[in-house]
């Protein structure tokens, strides 16, 4: 389920945005709490060991190591902001395009309802089945790509049970020998129904046929695009680089950001840093919120067909496509209210 909150910031006061901080679902806090707890635990353990278990000599060595690594955090490290900036931009543009490509049946249903005329059983069945075939192919494609859809429709039997395909059709599909996925087959059936409707003069013009075909083709193309995005992801090495960069930064920070007991060093810069004996790494926790939080945004949008809070509710989309598509082609046809002049005309 995507998390909608646009409405809460209709008026962009700071107060409205501030309230957003107290949401849990899909929030920074929800994605971060586990990792942050782990990090703080490790940090505290290290700190306790240093303060209570180490001998003075060991403390000196430890402090040397801390000072050594402190040189590589902050601005001396690889520039996390940019790596994340470029990566998040890429992930977000892919996520949005994927979301836009999943496709709905509403447009097709409106055109079918308008182009394919007739109230007899056969025509009604044709109209309904075209919609059903569209939803069937969507369910078939998405069950290959999306965990939640796969759980709902683990195999063709499940689709049959759900009423998306019947015995005859399943038989026909199984009879069709091909080592490749047969996602195109229901699309072909829909096209054949349209062709038949044209032959039976249920569709008034060849150009209407082309219009319906092109809408079907866009729908299939959108699903193909979603497939492409899923099967050809951002190269693994890129994802690894970003994941590693962020996580290693904080592994190093575990040591580098330890507060040292001995502030009596001669280097003025270092001095200020370690002058205040603190126990909680405020600054690093703030960095953690930003960097890991930002990385989490990318990670949760990486596979937008999954189970994350921000992921697209694909199962709902499939259900909605079937219900609204059937409703349109079935009930609406030719039921237009009597035309009455509007009150604005003079």
């Amino acid at each position: 389920m995507t998390i909608s909150y646009s409405d809460d910031v209709a008026k962009s006061t700071t107060w409205n945005f501030f309230k957003l901080l107290f949401r849990w679902k899909g929030s920074l806090w929800k994605v971060l709490w586990a990792e942050l707890t782990l990090w703080l635990t490790c940090y505290t353990l290290l700190s306790l060991i240093y303060r209570f278990l180490l001998t003075d000599a060991q403390k000196l060595t430890f402090e040397s190591i801390v000072k050594f690594w402190a040189n590589f955090t902050g601005r001396e490290f690889v520039s996390l902001t940019f790596i994340l900036g470029f990566f998040v931009s890429l992930v977000i543009s892919r996520w949005w395009d994927m979301y836009q490509s999943i496709g709905g049946t509403e447009k097709m249903a409106l055109h079918i309802a308008s182009y394919i005329e007739g109230d007899d059983e056969e025509t009604v069945t044709i109209r309904r089945n075209i919609i059903r075939y569209m939803v069937l192919v969507q369910a078939m494609v998405l069950s290959k790509l999306s965990h939640p859809v796969r759980r709902r429709f683990p195999n063709m039997e499940a689709l049959k049970t759900a009423g998306l395909i019947n015995d005859t059709e399943l038989h026909a599909m199984n009879n069709f020998e091909s080592i490749h996925p047969k996602h195109w087959l229901p699309i072909y059936w829909a096209m054949a129904l349209i062709k038949q409707a044209r032959k039976d003069e249920k569709i008034a013009s060849d150009t209407y046929v082309i219009d319906l075909y092109s809408k079907l083709s866009d729908y299939r193309g959108g699903l193909g695009k979603v497939s492409s995005y899923m099967s050809v992801p951002i190269p693994l090495a890129y994802t690894q680089v970003v994941f590693l960069a962020v996580r290693l930064y904080f592994v190093i920070a575990l040591i580098a950001e330890q507060y040292l007991l001995s502030g009596n060093t001669k280097q003025p810069e270092i001095f200020v840093k370690f002058a205040v004996d603190l126990y909680f790494p405020f600054a690093t926790v703030i960095q953690f919120l930003f960097y890991v939080g930002w990385a989490k945004v990318a990670e949760s949008l990486f596979n937008p067909l999954g189970n994350d809070d921000d992921d697209i509710a694909v199962n709902n989309i499939v259900t909605r496509n079937l219900q609204i598509g059937l409703a349109i082609v079935d009930n609406a046809v030719d039921k237009v209210p009597a035309q009455i002049r509007d009150p604005y005309s003079n």
Copy 2:
């Protein structure tokens, strides 16, 4: 209401841009004054406490804390400029696409006026109602998404009162059982009217029908896109990261940017910083203008259908769509001036 000022900088002199600084509506000052006042008040309070209430020992501790946090402001902090740069780019591209997708009736009206011929009552009503249905669906969709439109049209009754839907139609709509929104229904009615007009030979060709359908479909698609942008916003965690980054920076700056009385420190860098005993944090206020100002740009464009100065005047768009659409299909039809040769021909 969006704030137009392009005309004031037709000639891009510095003076023209300078004058922009003195505008209030939609300005940096208007979005910033409240927060800036709050920040300055807190800063002054802290400063007064430090100077007049603390003992010398407490002052030393306070100064330590100031020096500690001073290490994390400025360039050592998370790079605000980039986070904001990437985020603002994303928000602005969504905002512009949303604005472009809201749709108008002008194009459709021109084509209806041209394609659907006849001056009899029935034809005129058809033409007017197609436009009305388009505006109706826009009002229905936007009342789900936009505060100002929701205030104007809180329910279907309000739409009836406004004359966008009549009793018969409202009845038909309520009769149609569906758990999903019925935004497509007026679109379907419009398509059915076009189909009827074609059957009655009011439209001369099938290809004209397809042309009208595709314009209707684009219009519906635009509204669908606006819906998508509103219901699938930028992931919450991303917005939280940006909001937090900017606000926490200035919470830290409250302490870190305090001017210290004791300039007699030994560190040369720090020395210069605290050498001038100042009372007003000029530099931080300047940073506040930039960072919070920039963040505010993103925040006010985040929900462009809301109440901010820069938000799209959606109610005006709905009204204008109805008025201009009806004006075109009603008055203009077949009223072309007598054709006279232009003065350029030889």
Copy 3:
């Protein structure tokens, strides 16, 4: 007038690009000289006051202030490069899209000349008037948006004088009651003429009508896009942030970059900076060229329909559209050279 210089760098030698530096029109120098002179004058005045008017005690205070502000210039200031980078990218993409959307009559004229057949007075007038109406609507829209076009066509009378609209048409337009702009009216007339031509069998096919309509619609859509860009500019606060950031940087630099007499300070870093007693702030002037120059690029493209050197020559476009459009539909029709076999055939 846009400044064309692509041809001068056909061969991308450094010498060719170097020569570009000596151009005046649209150049960095032209946009910068006034502001730079002002800045240098202020800088010199401050410098003279410091060196000759201040007492020694005052000098010390002044130097403290200089050193204080010197901490906030250079890399410690808000990152101008990024703010400018993101802003200039946004402005340039809007500018280019606007330029591409202004539209020409050439494409339409070629199709009119081809589709609408006949050499009789009536047909010729139809062809010419469609073009004239297109130019008329362009002039009407642009006179709302662009200073130079507004100066040329301040009102409908001016359009009549220019021959873009005649009395009958102006009368018809005035008779049409609407509180909204009537830019669509000439488009409607053009559509009505096309429809009439189809009815009189001057156009051979319905699909040709749709083709002409869609070209008209694209043309109108382009003008609408230009309107959108002008009436919904980049949010004011964003422009203010960028303008302020750049200008404040150099106001601060007026003080911060003063050369100090007393080089005998103890801080090593500062020492080098003030060791050479210079009178001219070379480095800051170079920064001025870059930052203010870059900001000026954005500012002059901000309203590309204005009077800047780089602005689009909208008046020329209007004139050209009329002349070339009329020339095509009038003279060219059916004047094809006798077809002779080309020399390449064997």
Copy 4:
């Protein structure tokens, strides 16, 4: 073969992303191990020479050199992150566009199966051959661009052996004299077959012909785009700049990041850096992972038709296009399951 792993991060837990680190194919480790080993070997050799072979005087010189170059690594060097950020963005957008442009036969096959009617031998052959010609032209174009396809189809003979072209056709192609590639010829044959089918009334309407032509044209256009991307790559100098920047950085680091024995220097900054006597350049290896890893992403996507793990499996695409295309036009035609009412209707 592209590496699919989207499914493994359906739930974006850190653990799921962490597991990605242990994959080998297409991973950071696989692309980096050779170069990293080489770098570490050189580093160790230099280190051993410095520690055991050099005299004290030589050591001093060596240390001077190390300190000298140490000034140019880290943040003082050219900003690798940005150069890489911009370059990788460019490479990725080209890679993705290329991948989307390679084209499939599925869409065309569905339309052929629907538009071209008849079960006689001639019609079946026409349908099959149109698909075969499409695959033929893809194989011809890709064998010019892609190593793996070239290995599979080194010449026209290989295409004949593979059954993509027969003797008659090869003869016809050879007879056609042209110094330019003849990739368009099979496309033309396909168009001619469609035209013939229309003449023989196997295709019911002229608009269907245009629909088929436009799909063929898109297919050809996609292949042309792939050709463009391959023959007009990112300018060589840009690639060289990026390659050099990353590699030179680590050549310099070989020296600059050597740990020095003499920590007793007077400069405080340097002191901390060399205080810990370490043997393994942890920090530089981490930088190596990020910078070279990121560069490798760009390098392996640079030519996505090659042999890298992340490259597109072009040979599979060609095979799949033939199999699925033929399957659709051959078996599917007119085999629609008997239409049964779905279980949702009431």
Copy 5:
């Protein structure tokens, strides 16, 4: 001629990319050697003057100046990487769009060959001349924009000699009075030929005419886009800013990067820098490679129709368009191999 090298990096090994460094044409070295040599000469001269000609007092002054400017190089200077990053992105996106817009005749030729039927002299001439007119208009437009094309076709006479236009046509073109370019005239002729072919029933359907017209229109639109890019370049001031920023950086570096004899300064930072007495400015030369190399990429793509190694081979495109276009419409027509069943069918 663009430089193709994608094939050499089919396997993205470091070795393959390393070999790219040794290419000359279009390489970094070729674009840089002259400027680098000049820079090194100036640098050496300055160095020699300082070491051998200056008195000790002058040396001290010189060293002061060096130290002064040294503060403004490196990270203290304007951020070259970003300015270049944004600028190169802009130039590359314009370059690629321009390249894609130049247009070919292949698509049009295939459609002409298919739509315009007949083998008589007149029909063949029509087909050939449409192609010739397309190439003619391309040559006319490009000779206005591109040096190499202008050299080949300096005037209309040269086009006549080349056989692209004959006497009758040239006469007709000259007779047509217009102060504007007449690039549209050959397009109009081509449209008129298509119209004539339709009237003579050589084209079977009106929709085919529209299809041909739209392809012609796209072709003309592409050339218009190229014209736009050339006549409305990136604003001059922007180009000047980038050019100046890069070049001034290295003019300053001439002084700032001089190695000083007197390393015995007290400032620790400076000390390390000047500790090693070196004669060759390694680090600055490396920066030169990156910054000037990157700027050169932008500069050579700035006018992609020029004479640079990376520029588009426009003359070849014109020639190829004529040859392949004529070959298709002439030889190919109706020469389809006898249809034989493929070996895959069972």
